[in-house]
């Protein structure tokens, strides 16, 4: 079974249709997604700003990580769960949405950035924990993270817009990136 066939199957499940047609459930889930954005992206941004030496210069990086990361992770969990539900409410259109695909790639890049930071310069944290400007690799990681999360918020918000939906007249590159097939029709035509 192709991914698309799986997504089409998902779109026809009873709960997906119920969520799609609900008056309040979808809006409530989206509000939770936005609220958790404050906690997750807000705290992630504070950590990044600390890495680029723009805030909390007297607070050791280790303290920021130890005391804020658990909340950041909790916020991320809420983001993922509410995000999956938002996808589940509109599976096929979301799967074929170019901004959704861009967002997925950017999320992977953000994960890689965090991984490289954690296993790279963060391993030598004792040398730059507090009182000094974080070393260049840490500043670069913080800056990359800020740019990536801004781009993720951007592409996430854009999923709602249908400019590039399959079935609309489209540049071939965009159709290919969105995974459109010849028979697709515009869901909002």
């Amino acid at each position: 079974m192709s991914i698309r066939a799986a997504v089409e199957w998902l779109a026809n499940t009873e709960w997906s249709i119920a969520l799609h047609e609900s008056q309040y459930a979808y809006a409530t889930i989206e509000s939770v997604h936005v609220w958790a954005l404050c906690l997750f992206v807000g705290f992630a941004v504070l950590l990044d700003l600390r890495l680029v030496n723009a805030i909390f210069r007297d607070v050791p990086v280790s303290d920021m990580a130890r005391r804020l990361l658990p909340w950041t992770k909790a916020g991320f969990a809420v983001m993922v769960i509410s995000g999956i539900l938002l996808f589940y409410a509109i599976p096929l259109r979301t799967y074929l949405n170019i901004f959704f695909r861009i967002k997925a790639v950017l999320l992977i890049l953000a994960g890689l950035n965090a991984f490289v930071f954690h296993h790279g310069i963060y391993a030598k944290l004792s040398e730059w924990d507090v009182g000094v400007t974080p070393p260049r690799p840490a500043r670069v990681a913080g800056m990359c993270s800020l740019v990536l999360w801004a781009a993720i918020v951007f592409s996430g918000r854009m999923i709602a817009y249908n400019w590039f939906d399959c079935g609309k007249p489209q540049a071939r590159l965009i159709s290919a990136m969105a995974g459109c097939t010849a028979g697709d029709i515009d869901p909002y035509r």
Partner: protein, 157 residues
């Protein structure tokens, strides 16, 4: 009276420009969301501290001083991006319960943040009890959450 003002605003230059453009509204909205993330983080991290969570070992006043420019800066971004969004659909907002809820909460949140909350945050250590800290933090979180939820629901009405 107020309705005709809102209608005039909607038909003004900025409102018309945002409404007539395909991409202006979404792009301005993204800046609004990014501002939300920053103000959310900057407010929450201090409220968490007041609740005894997060950056516990650090003095409240120092954390508050550090986040202050980010709170003010992101609030400016929120307002600068929020006004054109409002102008583009002022009449809809006039009839929107979510809009008036949000604006009431916003007014209260701003007053609270820059008066009571501010004086508690910058008071000498030990001046206020943990219970007052908790009350301030919970009020702040409740008010700002109402602003956020109200704002999101303008789009659903």
């Amino acid at each position: 009276m107020l309705l005709s003002l809102f209608q005039a605003l909607e038909n003004g230059a900025i409102g018309t420009a945002v409404r007539d453009s395909l991409w202006l509204f979404p792009v301005v909205e993204v800046f609004h969301l990014m501002g939300l993330a920053v103000i959310g983080g900057a407010i929450l991290v201090v409220d968490f501290r007041l609740l005894g969570l997060g950056l516990r070992p650090h003095p409240v006043s120092r954390l508050a001083r550090d986040v202050q420019p980010w709170v003010v800066g992101s609030l400016v971004v929120m307002i600068l991006s929020g006004v054109p969004l409002f102008l583009s659909e002022a009449t809809k907002c006039y009839y929107s319960f979510a809009f008036w809820t949000k604006m009431t909460a916003l007014l209260l949140a701003i007053i609270f943040t820059f008066t009571i909350r501010r004086s508690v945050l910058f008071a000498p250590d030990g001046r206020f009890s943990p219970r007052s800290y908790r009350a301030v933090a919970l009020t702040s979180i409740a008010l700002w959450s109402a602003v956020g939820w109200g704002g999101r629901w303008i789009g659903f009405s």
